[in-house]
């Protein structure tokens, strides 16, 4: 297939791709441009859109999408997908609420660990038992959703005297909500892992050509497990944050994040085929989604149309941000 494919794909798009190739992260520029365009439109619609107050609203909501999205992105980069983020988020958030009352601050590391283990479980199902990640995570997602139900048959909340443990998320620093700093921190962490560590880089190699990676001595099993661990961790962090900012939560919380997390990743310009994209893409993806959702309320778009417009916008944004030169076939 090789020579023939160059001839087919190589000559036409090849040249265009060559031009793009020089940009460091080609897709990113589109995402950024789109973000500012959308922002501009909304601020023309209502001056209050760009007040510091509203911007912090936008960002705080984006942070949540960002945490799930960063994880999801890792699963996608390595060539898989993680549909268990919803179940994991639910399970972690309700158990966190219950446990934090007992063991206090230890709950944070504990549930990050839970995220890691869950991710590892997904990884094992893929790499050892060799079940496609789509199915494996769809299954585990259901399992953790059930666990969440069992842990919390009713919505749970942290009683006021114990709120102190959650100040980390609810305080502000220099007048800026801690949530934003936490989001930034996690973002930098994921960025660093993907950009500056061998195994992080291997995620890209494996995602873009798994056979080559295997033949080059990359431990593809370890790499893919690691990617799913990153994914589980992201979901767990999101779960913790949800509970922390509202001092409690209900076991369904995660279910509304499965598809949005994927949408955020792809809107940012990361390809579902794996290997291309990155933390910055997801950052902007999450921001775009959040800006759309917030802006439509600020400019007063009728509730009835909001969902439709959101749907339209993700199609438009992906049409813009998706780098076709790197994916000859689009599925």
């Amino acid at each position: 297939m090789t020579e023939k494919k160059t001839a087919v794909a190589g000559e036409g798009p090849g040249t265009a791709a060559a031009r793009r190739g020089r940009l460091r992260i080609p897709t990113l520029s589109y995402a950024v441009a789109l973000l500012f365009l959308v922002g501009l439109v909304f601020s023309l619609g209502n001056g209050n859109f760009i007040t510091g107050y509203n911007l912090s609203t936008i960002i705080s909501y984006a942070v949540l999408l960002l945490l799930v999205g960063l994880g999801q992105m890792c699963a996608i980069l390595v060539g898989g997908i993680d549909l268990s983020v919803g179940g994991v988020m639910s399970f972690v958030s309700v158990s966190f609420v219950i446990v934090v009352q007992v063991i206090g601050y230890w709950a944070y590391p504990l549930f990050i660990l839970v995220g890691i283990l869950v991710g590892y479980l997904n990884g094992i199902l893929l790499t050892r038992i060799r079940i496609p990640s789509f199915i494996a995570t769809l299954g585990t997602g259901g399992i953790f959703m059930s666990l969440a139900m069992i842990v919390a048959p009713v919505p749970v909340n942290v009683p006021t005297p114990k709120w102190g443990y959650l100040d980390i998320f609810n305080g502000t620093f220099l007048g800026i909500s801690n949530v934003i700093f936490i989001g930034l921190l996690v973002f930098l962490l994921y960025f660093a892992i993907l950009r500056f560590t061998a195994v992080g880089r291997n995620i890209y190699y494996v995602g873009s050509n798994i056979k080559m990676s295997w033949m080059s001595g990359i431990n593809i099993a370890r790499t893919r497990n690691f990617a799913f661990i990153l994914s589980g961790t992201g979901a767990a962090l999101a779960g913790i944050m949800v509970s922390a900012v509202q001092y409690g939560c209900n076991p369904y919380v995660g279910s509304s994040y499965i598809l949005p997390s994927i949408a955020a990743v792809v809107v940012g310009g990361t390809a579902l085929t794996g290997g291309t994209g990155g933390a910055f893409n997801t950052l902007f993806g999450a921001l775009i989604m959040s800006v759309l959702q917030n802006g439509m309320n600020v400019v007063g778009v009728d509730q009835y149309f909001q969902q439709s417009i959101l749907g339209m916008m993700i199609i438009v944004s992906v049409a813009l941000t998706f780098d076709r030169s790197k994916t000859p076939v689009i599925k």
Binding site: T51, M149, P153, P155, N157, V242, Q293, N297, G300, Q303
Partner: protein
């Protein structure tokens, strides 16, 4: 934020609900719009789509939009949501009223701008429907039933189910042979009933946590020609249930009047904003209280339909506490 303390000129009436796709929540919007026309005030509707974080963030967006010149009547997606919302509105100096969901140990009185928390007696609702159902048995007070629970872990669902169990204790001759979770969904109610009828062909009644599932169950009964033979109950008061009650398929339902709810909530918040209602001096039992749902049976169904469904009644909002029944936690 919070400009125009004591003046309600151009104040936006905001109601935040689960979604516009079900009649109960849609009616909040209808009520709010009616009030808005009456008072010549703008109205905004927010919908959480079952996503707490969206709900919270939308409230902030609304504060940003109105610059804080707003009042809010909200049915939060889940109980815990009220904590961050209370915080946001406290900072924004926005008066608001909460419906249904609130963690018990979160006290309204600790907040300046949270005017009131108003809720319904879910346990009572479940209990009422159960007792009505038991009465309708071939041999009243004696028989087997199956139950369709709502979304697991949902406060209302849990409360109503407790009501059912209370009634079961009081009627030892009634046995709950199986219950399943139908997630408030009609199709699920239909499927589950079909299966449970195989496991328990000999039941005498079906208790359902809401009308949607009840309608599904009724459909399943129809297929077996059991409609009217096996009585069932619901809760909410969706249009179809009333016909079913008239036809004698459904014994009872309890209607929460969403139009009244949003108008009451918004008027209280407005009164507080304009100073007519002094929140600080309100007694605790007025800050968090229950109002009764409208219990609908074959006797009063026509009256109810005329009053509430066919036309939006002009509610008497001069006395906010006219329907006060009991203090809520």
């Amino acid at each position: 934020a919070g400009q125009g303390e004591g003046n309600t000129a151009g104040t936006t009436l905001v109601t935040s609900i689960r979604g516009l796709d079900n009649p109960y929540h849609a009616n909040y919007a209808v009520g709010a719009k009616a009030l808005g026309e009456l008072l010549k005030l703008p109205v905004d509707v927010l919908s959480t789509e079952g996503n707490s974080q969206k709900g919270i963030s939308d409230v902030r967006a609304e504060v940003a939009k109105t610059g804080g010149n707003m009042v809010l009547s909200i049915d939060p997606n889940q109980a815990p949501d009220v904590v961050p919302i209370a915080k946001i509105l406290e900072d924004a100096k926005v008066y608001w009223v909460n419906w249904w969901n609130k963690p018990d140990d979160v006290k309204v009185t600790t907040y300046k701008y949270w005017v009131a928390n108003i809720t319904f007696d879910s346990v009572g609702t479940g209990y009422f429907n159960a007792t009505q159902l038991f009465k309708a048995f071939k041999t009243p007070g004696k028989g087997k039933i199956i139950a369709l629970q709502g979304q697991l872990a949902n406060n209302a669902a849990v409360g109503r189910f407790q009501g059912l169990q209370k009634a079961l204790k009081e009627n030892p001759d009634v046995e709950l042979v199986q219950w399943e979770a139908g997630d408030w969904d009609r199709t699920k109610g239909y499927n589950l009933t079909k299966s449970m009828l195989v496991a328990h062909p000999d039941i005498d009644g079906i208790w359902s946590a809401n009308d949607e599932m009840a309608m599904g169950a009724l459909q399943a009964l129809k297929e077996k020609g059991l409609d009217g033979k096996i009585p069932l109950t619901g809760t909410d008061g969706i249009p179809e249930i009333f016909d079913a009650i008239k036809a004698g398929y459904v014994t009872s339902t309890v209607m929460q009047d969403a139009k009244y709810q949003s108008q009451l909530g918004l008027s209280m918040a407005l009164a507080a904003k304009s100073g007519k209602l002094n929140v600080a001096s309100m007694p605790a039992n007025h800050r968090s209280f229950m109002i009764p749902g409208t219990q609908v049976t074959r006797e009063n169904v026509d009256k109810v339909v005329n009053e509430f469904i066919k036309n939006t009644p002009k509610y008497d909002l001069s006395d906010f506490f006219s329907r006060w029944v009991a203090e809520a936690p």
